[in-house]
């Protein structure tokens, strides 16, 4: 509310409500506000990163209704009535997600800048394809770029998590 009152009356705002990591959020956004800025600057969740800003690198990956999108090129109003997952919402009550554990165990990151996007994209993959081949994994993940690891450890981490998740699901 305070939001709208601070703005000039001729400035258009769109009231949106959406779930962010399972909690309902209601706020007014201007049409040109980007999802990345709203999540980082207004809502304070900085796991999502800006890097290339042109939908190539995947550092800004978020899941919207379970599917990966580039927050750097998504208008914030587009998530109205949807559900958004950031890396901060992945652990369950302090217990890391199997993908997070696998990335730690298998050294799936070095500087960590690409990691939130990598983990969220691979979650979307495993949710739709719990037992991917390495080729399927590479195809799905080819839009997530890592400058450090050389990818081998990332692939190992995701494959290990897939195995662990399907054995615990059984």
């Amino acid at each position: 509310m305070a939001n709208t009152m601070l703005r000039r009356p001729d400035v258009q705002t769109v009231p949106i409500s959406f779930t962010l990591n399972g909690k309902l959020q209601e706020l007014d956004v201007e049409p040109h506000e980007l999802l990345l800025d709203v999540i980082r600057e207004r809502l304070g969740l900085t796991g999502v990163k800006r890097s290339c800003d042109v939908q190539v690198c995947g550092a800004c990956t978020l899941l919207v209704d379970g599917r990966p999108v580039s927050a750097c090129t998504t208008l914030a109003f587009e998530v109205r009535e949807r559900s958004v997952l950031t890396i901060e919402g992945l652990a369950d009550d302090g217990k890391l997600h199997p993908l997070q554990e696998a990335f730690i165990e298998h050294g799936g990151f070095q500087c960590g800048f690409c990691t939130p996007g990598m983990i969220l994209a691979s979650k979307a993959l495993l949710d739709e394809n719990p037992d991917p081949t390495e080729d399927e994994l590479k195809h799905f993940m080819h839009g997530n770029i890592c400058r450090c690891t050389g990818y081998k450890k990332i692939i190992e981490s995701i494959m290990a998590a897939a195995q662990k998740m399907s054995s615990t699901a059984r």
């Binding site: 769109v14 980007l34 939908q55 599917r67 998504t74 109003f77 993940m141």
Partner: protein
């Protein structure tokens, strides 16, 4: 950084067209935004109004009717790569869609936006030309059909008028026995060369009854190559197979390839020939 704009959210194609007509160059239709927002963030273009079309019902479906597939312009690449109707009838288009951009761009980018932006380094236009698809353009007071072949005018330029909305892409399902293949080559984010072949054989598969060849990405706009088709059409399979190298050279020269970041002109012309040969053989083996 994006500059401020007003958001319009009309509920019908007529209203969209009316807004686009009324505001002219200061308004732009907004679908997935994967191209438009990039251009606006770069400051290359600015619009006072964006007209969001995603509220329009019925434009994000794939339907089959009377031997043709009707694709709503708002279908995302992701919808198309997973569409059961397309998997059944046009697997070559499904394969193309699976390889457009990356998973995030496919999630929100639409087929309509891809065609209307007419960025030269794009895939679907080339295959749609070879498939003799027809595009429906609508405005407040009527609609018209535009053959895919004449839709692309130049780089970033289509046959659409300011107040026209692309609503449907109709693709005739090729009569059997036939083969359809699209192949691309590239090492950057977007394709550098794309070639599409649609071939129809006679009943005992010994004669090339009909063939359509289209080339894209190399030059400013995707195009059909009738000179190359003539070298193969009506020929026995043996003769057509012998002529394919010449058809490839002809297609390369016709492609209007330009030298740029994606490669030199002669290099692209060569790749056109290589891809045509491979696509021809792949189409024959279907």
């Amino acid at each position: 950084m994006l500059r401020r704009f007003r958001l319009e959210e009309p509920q019908s194609v007529g209203e969209i067209s009316e807004l686009l007509g009324r505001f002219g160059d200061s308004a732009k239709l907004y679908a997935g935004g994967t191209e438009l927002l990039l251009a606006m963030k770069e400051g290359l273009v600015h619009y006072e109004r964006l007209v969001n079309v995603k509220g329009i019902e019925g434009l994000n479906e794939v339907k089959q009717h009377n031997g043709a597939i009707y694709i709503g312009a708002l279908c995302t690449h992701h919808q198309l790569e997973t569409s059961p109707v397309l998997k059944q009838n046009l697997p070559a288009l499904v394969k193309l869609e699976e390889n457009v951009a990356n998973v995030r761009v496919r999630q929100v980018g639409t087929l309509g936006g891809n065609l209307c932006f007419a960025e030269p380094h794009a895939d679907p236009g080339t295959l749609l030309i070879a498939l003799e698809a027809s595009l429906t353009a609508e405005k407040s007071n009527g609609k018209r059909e535009i053959p895919a072949e004449s839709f692309f005018v130049d780089a970033y330029e289509t046959a659409l008028e300011v107040d026209e909305v692309l609503t449907t892409i109709a693709v005739p399902i090729p009569a059997k026995p036939s083969g359809v293949c699209y192949m691309k080559f590239g090492y950057l984010e977007r394709p550098s060369v794309g070639v599409a072949v649609v071939v129809n054989l006679n009943a005992d598969r010994s004669v090339v009854d009909d063939i359509k060849i289209a080339v894209g990405c190399a030059g400013p706009a995707p195009m059909r190559v009738p000179e190359a088709e003539a070298l193969l059409k009506g020929k026995s399979l043996d003769e057509a197979t012998r002529n394919i190298v010449q058809a490839g050279e002809t297609s390369g020269r016709a492609s209007q390839a330009i030298s740029d970041l994606h490669g030199a002109q002669d290099y692209k012309e060569h790749i056109v020939g290589v891809l045509l040969k491979r696509a021809f053989h792949s189409a024959l083996s279907q």
